[in-house]
Symmetry: C2
Subunit: 651 residues, 2 copies
């Protein structure tokens, strides 16, 4: 979401076939190939160990691309190791014949990567739509000194000034400001900057929350936080411009007491446990605040507000609310709405005047993080029937538009976060995050995070692997391997048939990295739960899947999803990929927008009231939908016409 | 203002003449005589030393009434010392001939005491007028436990219950309550008492500020405080009934740093001085709170709100606002309006949820104590043109009715508080507070506080002394003694002519107690300032003194004012005494009413906005008015027709 320094774009042309792709300078050649839909054998994940990814540089220059697997003579001829080479100019490269085997005209060509369109957040658009109403504003006043004829109190003088100069009404002064007022007014001859904090509720008073001698209108900041179960993301927002200046992240310090919300609740139920959980999360927040302030040379006293969003359990722990009943049927949180709170009262180290706003939630399992995403993405303001989906251990789903909204949480299990999979792992260095397969030889191209030797498979990698294996007929609609294929990559292992992604000698660990039928079964169950949730919800409001006009993907997982893969395996309903939007961390986006505009703070109350929560386990149809989804892409193939047409074509 | 155990009333009949008065049991006989307008020589103030006050008991019984000045034989005959005797039955007594001297038929008869009618504050009237809207209410809820079909959050369940059971809307829950909510609901099977705190501003949210398991609706308290420069009065209010349960008073601990507001401001301007002044006043408040709670068996946690009123300087010191410019032209306070404040934030030891409301003021010298009186007395709701007057070192004057209000402060000097007078003193034990004179012999009857030997004259005593001396021709219209009277009580002293109230041997100190012409001059200047202030204000709004329909007296001084005396010397405008109301401590009354009814809290904003402040020193006419008032009762005797008629009659 930050304005990074935009990098140069270079064109990469792959021969034979001539597929082209534009990538940023510094992109590894195998990533470029994957994006272009070109397969290069590369099972070592970019560490250069397997040496199979050699290509020939026809024109332009590449940085790197040589290990001991390549002789100097070969290098001089133009050979490079694709996984070690990065792009710094327009280049043309040839995939050598050794990677091309018999079957098909251009066996290196594989489906092109269709990532979701990045959400292009534009403050100017919001300003135009009248949505940009900063919750905190600074106003400069040049007042006249009191006289016998005009000996109004200092506070009255300021309020009169604001009325006359800025047409401000309905103001109230805080005690903190009154204490500083007399001296502040007289320090710079009655020139002062006052900080106004707008009421969230309509018709509420505007609070005068600070006074400074002289002109300080250009220094006015807020904070936006996403409180995740695993990580906490904090950002510094400029109230003057609405811009997000800087982001910092850290693990939620609670993580040492368990990875999921249930273990955190169990901790909180122990004596003093709630206090401990509260302290851990605020410690992380305070650490991030300190870093944000230091890095950006902002004083703590220049912060007036903070918005925080998180799931229902994280919100309870942040506010020291007893989360006990969140994990016990009938799953009752203490509250879904939270009043504006003095930040200090919840242990956040900010000036006394700083107010903390906490995003409301819907239920125990549809939390403030999701509401923040719905607000931040603008879904609640659009006419288009939209599916909002945030995939993690739980997938939260919201369907609707500006007129109606329904939501549900489905327990997808941990597969999308790499859990319950033989070689599953979090999205960290060495995780296979992208993949393709040579249609002829079934040799893999493994793309890992940070180009490290592969040590496991993360959620997005798993999705692409399953989809790719399915597309190429390596597994069937039930996820079972085609035992007739001629490749040593498919074999019978301890847990039944498996595909070897990386041999031990090329891997970062000390075993082959495989995906087996049990893994695939777990994965199918996870995707089935999500799809069935979406379908149940859509049909619950009397619509069909085909009525969807837009899909918004949120969460770290969403960024790496290959949309064709997601539809191929039946995770997402079929829709024109151009209608799919990726918003990244929806929770942080919503918090930022709340810091930027009071409109969001007001509208969220209506949105939450408007939103109907479905308890999927209570909906009769859900189980049937789930069972019907336990196929690739689905029992009812007519729900995926494009996918089935593509599959037929490639057969 | 408390419902004291009402005492028995007994009738006292004085012979000759037959004047009668009804007094409470325990009243001293000389006080009863004074009320009846019967003079008994008694210059020792009730200590029994002078022995001049002997009377004859004709029927009934008296308690006490004997010292060494009376022989046992005399006692048996029925003689008693009036100043030592108290009334415990209906009695008839005779003033013996020795006290009756030649001149006039019944020389013991003097003007009857006309005290102002006590303000009869009636909660039922307020309820009928719709003014009784408790700012804090407790509601009992018996909710149903959550089920799968109804798994609303705990907070939502409570809000729904309040809506359904009590038609409550626009509620917001505080963090404090959310923290206790889960356990509280489940402790008594979802029976809870919630405390609602109403918003002061119209349309504002009702805050849910407490939750208790079970039924606690009968325990709901608030506090009302008057923060005086000298004394602080605190009272405990029952929010359920609106009743004032108990009052406690103490000296404002700031008093050791100076007696008046100016010296307190000077202290506050010293390094750390403001903090010190703030701590001293809050210490006094906290001490009184502790006593109120202990005495009435109320827990600190049962207090939800506190209202405080005081003059502008006291309010500034209470809130730690810099009072510096209050004492410097053009006399600008920091603020006249104060936001609702968390009581803890100003050092008041109450639960975190308790809100402190501080009465707004008008200017540096018309403070929240006066506004409280205007609100508490109901002056702002009456149609009658009313003069509200609170006499101390400064006299604050408000004139108007429900449609308009003007106010001013006049610096009367310290005469009314016993300052600047040779034997002036505060209203404490031994102060002469009431007085009459034998029309024939000019011998005094001195009535002292607590019947102690006289040690000085307090403000109310001074008023009666000057008026009585004037009525009996002892002093003339300029306050000069009639040097031709045959009495040793009038003599030339060091500061000119003087009247001896008490001879040294009968006094509590070691000198004669006198009042001299300089004292009288000072007193006349003080009353002239007040009267001129009233008249300037009245004429400033285009009315005449005769347009006044009602006078409300506030402050300790007002309780002892003999109304005839006050008009005789021209302190108060002439008006039917039945139209004069005494409200006692108006500041405390207003605070109590604010604790009792949210109507007052709302209306005060309009009242303050409506009130026009006159700066008397800026009004041309004021000086002329002042000079014209430097006579008894006034240069223009036609302003006091009744008084001049009475004086003529007695000549």
């Amino acid at each position: 979401m930050t304005d990074e320094n935009s990098k140069e774009l270079y064109r990469v042309t792959f021969l034979p076939g001539g597929r082209m792709v534009e990538v940023e300078s510094g992109t590894s050649l195998i990533k470029a190939a994957r994006l272009a839909g070109v397969h290069i054998n590369a099972s070592c994940g970019g560490s250069g160990v397997c040496g199979k990814c050699r290509i020939l540089l026809e024109s332009g220059t590449l940085t790197g691309g040589k290990s001991e697997k390549l002789s100097d003579a070969e290098y001089d001829e133009g050979y490079r190791q694709a996984c070690l080479a990065t792009i710094d100019s327009d280049v043309t490269i040839t995939i050598p014949a050794e990677s091309k085997l018999a079957k098909g005209a251009l066996p290196t060509e594989v489906p092109i990567r269709h990532r979701a369109r990045m959400y292009d957040f534009n403050i100017e658009d919001l300003k135009e739509a009248g949505v940009f109403v900063p919750p905190v504003e600074k106003k400069l006043l040049q007042l006249s000194a009191p006289t016998h004829e005009d000996n109004m109190a200092d506070a009255g003088r300021i309020i009169q000034g604001l009325r006359n100069e800025y047409n401000e009404h309905g103001m109230i002064t805080t005690l903190h400001v009154l204490k500083k007022m007399r001296s502040a007014l007289r320090e710079k001859n009655f020139e002062v900057t006052v900080t106004l904090s707008r009421s969230v509720s309509k018709g509420g008073k505007t609070h005068i929350v600070n006074i400074q001698p002289g002109d300080w209108t250009h220094r006015n900041y807020g904070l936006a936080f996403d409180i995740g179960t695993t990580s906490i993301h904090g950002s510094l927002v400029d109230h003057q411009t609405g811009k997000l200046i800087s982001i910092r992240s850290d693990y939620n310090a609670q993580i040492s007491y368990g990875e999921d919300v249930i273990t955190r609740i169990i901790q909180a139920e122990k004596p003093k446990g709630l206090h401990l959980m509260h302290e851990l999360v605020t410690n992380t927040i305070n650490g991030l605040i300190a870093k944000l302030l230091l890095k950006n040379d902002v004083a703590r006293d220049e912060i007036t507000s903070i918005t925080l969003s998180g799931n229902t359990t994280m919100t309870h722990l942040l506010l020291s609310l007893e989360p006990h009943n969140i994990r016990r049927a009938p799953y009752v949180p203490v509250s879904t709405f939270f009043p504006p709170i003095r930040a200090r009262d919840i242990g956040i180290n900010l000036p006394l005047r700083a107010v903390a706003l906490v995003f409301p939630s819907i239920s125990s399992y549809v939390g403030g993080d999701i509401i923040a995403g719905v607000m931040g993405s603008g879904m609640y303001r659009t006419k288009a029937v939209t599916l909002y989906i945030d995939i993690g251990t739980n997938a939260e789903i919201v369907i609707g538009n500006r007129d109606w909204l329904v939501c549900a949480a489905c327990s997808a299990g941990p597969a999308f976060e790499g859990g319950g999979i033989t070689h599953g792992m979090r999205a960290a260095a060495g995780a296979i995050e992208d993949f393709s397969i040579n249609p002829a030889t079934y040799e893999p191209m493994n793309i890992t995070i940070d180009n490290n030797p592969p040590i496991g498979i993360c959620g997005s990698g798993l999705l692409v692997i399953v989809a790719t294996l399915f597309e190429h007929g390596v597994i069937d609609r039930q996820g079972k391997f085609n035992r007739k294929l001629e490749t040593d990559r498919i074999r019978e292992g301890r847990s039944g048939y498996e595909y070897v992604l990386t041999w031990e000698k090329e891997a970062g660990g000390n075993s082959d990295i495989v995906i087996n039928e049990v893994d695939i079964e777990n994965f199918i169950r996870a995707k089935a739960a999500i799809y069935a949730g979406c379908k149940t919800l859509i049909e619950g409001v009397g619509l069909q899947v085909t009525d969807l006009e837009q899909i918004i993907l949120a969460g770290a997982f969403g960024s790496y999803i290959d949309l064709d893969s997601a539809m191929t395996i039946g995770l997402l309903p079929e829709i024109d990929p151009d209608r799919i939007l990726y918003i990244g961390n929806g929770s942080l986006l919503g918090s930022w927008m709340s810091e930027m505009s009071n409109h969001i703070r007001r509208d969220v109350v209506d949105v939450v009231k408007k939103m109907t929560s479905f308890e999927l386990s209570e909906v009769k149809d859900f189980h049937n939908q789930y069972v019907a989804s336990l196929f690739l892409p689905h029992t009812d193939i007519s729900l995926f016409p494009e996918t089935s047409a593509r599959l037929k074509k490639s057969e």
